[in-house]
Structure formats: C-alpha cells, structure tokens
Amino acid sequence: MADFERQDGTTRDELVQRIALMEKMIAEGRQSTARYGWMFVLWGLTYFAAIAWTVYLPYTEWAWPACIAACSVAFGVVRTRHRAGGTIDNLRRHSLDAVWQVIGGGIILYLIAVIVSGHGKEPDYLAAVLFFNGLANGVSARILRWWPQGVAAAIWWGCGTAMLFFTTRTEELALFVTATFCGMILFGVYAMWLERHAAAGMVQAHA
C-alpha cells in the first residue's frame, strides 16, 4: 500500500472514500425507483368519492366518469412535478409502468363504457373493477417479488369473488369499500411509510 501511495499520490483514505461514494450512489439509484405509494392512496380516495357520490348525490351516472377525470388530472399534475426533478428508466420500472398503464387504462375505459352505455349492472361492473385491480397488483407482486402486494391482490380477488355471491346493495358496497380501503388506501399508506423509512435510513447511513 505504501508503494501505491508513492506512485499515484492517492491515499488509502481516498480509496475508501471512493468505495463509500459508489455505495451511496448505487443506493440513491435504487431508492429513486420506488415512489408509488401516493398513487394508491390517490386512486383509493377517488374510488371512495365515486361510491359516495352514487349513494348520496344525484346524477349517479356521472359519478365514476367525473371522479376518474378529476383524479386523472390530479395524477398528471403530481406526476409531472415528480418528473421535474429528473427521470430515470430501468427494466423493472418500465415493466411496472406498463402493467399499470395498460390495466389502469382498461379499467377506466371499461367503467366509462359500461356506465355511459347503461348496459352493465352495478354488482357486475364493480366486481370486474375489483378483478382488474387484483390482476394489476398480482402482476406487480410477481415482478417485485413482494408479498404484501400479493396480499393486496388476494384482497381484491376475494372481494370481487364475494361480490358475485352477495346480492344486496349494502353487501356490494361493503365489499367494494373493504377492498378499496385494504387493497388501495392501507396498502398505499404502507408503501409510503416504507419509502419514507428507506429514505431516512439511507440519509443516516451516509451522513
């Protein structure tokens, strides 16, 4: 080591600092790939708002299209702000984006078409929405190898299946609210807590 220092002028401490720098930057890169929790909370609240509208307000045929349109605008604004800080891309992130864009787009199109056409019955289309959500969460859980999201998928599918067997409106609403609360809002809050916890841990580790 002493020879190396004489030839190059770089000290052992500097080399150790380089390793610390590499570790920090690699961790930063990984950390930046996980900021999804807020999306679940936002869409969960939108589902709640739409359901509340269908129960308590007039013009119920506009509940889902209007709430989805408002949420899409809010989603776009927040996402644009997040992206103003720069963007990155990797295969896993790209795969997750693809899954949610395609299935999310499918849910929106399905809901708007079935409600505007008036051909669908509420338990059927609400059950379909639950299955769509279970599908997206299930695929994400497999991509991420993350069991909590697998649990969220199971909740969506379980409530979707149950909805086809329970026929009163109160039961349907209770199942939909349960699935939305557990599979979206609670899961989103948990994901946000993990993201914040990971960020705080990283700062401490490299302070």
Partner: protein, 98 residues
C-alpha cells in the same frame, strides 16, 4: 513484489465515479436527475459527462418530453467493463480492508 493495478483516471474522478455508479443501476437517466443526485452544477456535470462520452463509457441521447428537451444518458458495455475493472483494482489495492 507483485505489480499494483492502475486505476482508470476517467473512472477515478469523483463526479464521474458518482455518475457511473448511479447509471449502473438504471437503464437510462436524464441530466437533471444526475445533477440533483450528485449535487453538482450544470457546467461541471456537463464537462464530466463529455469526458465519459469521449471515453465511450456513456452514450447520450437527446429527445423531447412533451415540449421540454431532455438529455438522456445510459451506460455503455465499455462503461460497465471499466467500472468493474476499477472496482476489481480497488479491491486489490485495499486488500483485506474490503
């Protein structure tokens, strides 16, 4: 006495090493993200990115995200190889410390 490995001077620069370490975990990243993560200035990062490009360690692509121009960087296979070689050289130099 065994010959000590040389450290690639292009990789060894602090900011360049930080950028390569960031890029190793992502497919591509834009200039703004790299600047924010490394805490550098536009001018300094631009100059270092040019050196990495000249060495063939990163590839640059310009595109538009909506109306905004975006400069994207990705690590080339040569860059990955250089970083791996650099890490290996560091390990040998530091020996038992790692």
């Amino acid at each position: 006495m065994p010959e000590l490995p040389e450290l690639d001077p292009v990789v060894h620069g602090k900011l360049r090493l930080a950028v390569l370490s960031l890029l190793v975990g992502v497919e591509e990243a834009d200039f703004t993200w790299l600047r924010d993560k490394t805490g550098s200035t536009d001018g300094n990062l631009g100059a270092q990115m040019m050196k990495l490009e000249e060495a063939g360690y990163v590839a640059m692509q310009k595109r538009f995200a909506g109306r905004k121009p975006q400069t994207l960087y990705r690590m080339t296979p040569a860059g990955r190889k250089a970083l791996a070689k650099y890490v290996s050289a560091l390990k040998r130099l530091l020996g038992g410390a790692l």
